[in-house]
């Protein structure tokens, strides 16, 4: 009589071997992570400058900026902050993966997923802004 443990082992699909990345691929991953970290820091700095510039311009022109402009600039700054933090997170998690292994690569890929969602949102916002601006120009 075959023990049930062995039956279960036979029924299970064969486990696929673990995926090892080649040296060249690891080097490329490291380079991509470095770029992502730099972009993240640059984006966060740019968004901070954008918000500061907006505050200074608003104060200098005694709140002459239109409400629409302020809302648009703040929206762009928020997008920049969100995208930059995800890029920085990707870079940081890939670096941690190269030092300590998983689950840091999983976290890096989750950062990328949020980045793709932001990309979709940005594209939709760009298309809508373009439509609104064109309609404004077309209006007599």
């Amino acid at each position: 009589v075959t023990p049930p443990v062995e039956i279960a082992a036979e029924a299970a699909p064969p486990a696929s071997p673990p995926l090892r990345l080649s040296e060249d691929r690891l080097r490329r991953l490291q380079r991509a992570a470095g770029r992502a970290r730099v972009l993240g820091v640059a984006g966060l700095s740019a968004s901070t400058l954008l918000i500061l510039g907006l505050l200074v311009a608003d104060a200098a022109m005694s709140s002459a900026l239109s409400q629409g402009t302020v809302v648009l600039m703040l929206f762009v700054a928020c997008l920049l902050i969100a995208g930059s933090s995800q890029m920085y997170g990707y870079g940081k998690n890939v670096r941690a993966f190269l030092a300590d292994g998983e689950p840091f690569l999983l976290r890096a890929f989750q950062n990328l997923r949020r980045l793709w969602i932001l990309w979709i949102g940005t594209s939709v916002a760009t298309a809508l802004a373009s439509i609104v601006l064109t309609l404004k120009r077309l209006r007599p």
Binding site: S16, P18, L19, R20, L21, S22, R25, L26, R28, L29, R31, A32, R35, A36, V38, L39, A42, G43, A46, M87, F97, L98, A99, D100, G101, E102, P103, L105, L106, F109, Q110, L112, R113, W116, I117, W119, I120, S123, V124, T126, A127, S130, I131, L133, T134, R137, L138
Partner: protein, 157 residues
């Protein structure tokens, strides 16, 4: 063999498991990471579609605005911004479409698709870096032009 050690003593834990150094850790991609990558296929496809939609809207908007413009100074900046934005948008659309295709391959069980996906990530960050540099250059130029225009004497009417 030193005389103060017992040859019949069982091995100690430290002898069985030597300390792990960073060089010993093999960067093995886990199954969960692979599944996460495979799940990104619809998102990348959606990103490519939405970027394509934004480009189409921008094209129509540019044609309308150039058609309505009365002088070349009105239509010039619009044409230049469209000409600069077109190759950048097309590049990102092709990148996202390629990434989505490889993610679908991975979802079907083709593990060889992981390497092109990682390459796509690298190209995405490289292109974003170039884009950021262009953005910084445009912003600096705009500030310089604004300062020069503010300092120049007003032309007599």
């Amino acid at each position: 063999m030193p005389l103060d050690t017992n040859p019949f003593a069982p091995p100690r834990t430290v002898e069985l498991e030597p300390p792990v150094s960073a060089a010993d850790i093999e960067p093995i991609v886990s199954e969960r990471s692979l599944r996460e990558l495979a799940r990104q296929a619809p998102l990348l496809r959606g990103a490519a579609m939405m970027a394509g939609l934004a480009l189409a809207v921008d094209t129509v908007s540019t044609i309308l605005q150039v058609g309505l413009a009365k002088t070349a100074t009105e239509s010039g900046p619009r044409i230049v911004s469209f000409a600069v934005g077109l190759p950048i948008s097309l590049f990102f659309i092709f990148l996202a479409r390629g990434g989505a295709r490889h993610c679908r391959r991975l979802a079907r069980g083709d593990r060889a698709a992981v390497e092109p996906i990682l390459d796509m990530h690298g190209r995405y960050f490289a292109a974003s870096g170039v884009l950021a540099l262009i953005g910084i250059a445009v912003a600096v130029c705009a500030v310089v032009v604004g300062l020069v225009a503010a300092r120049s004497p007003v032309a007599p009417t």
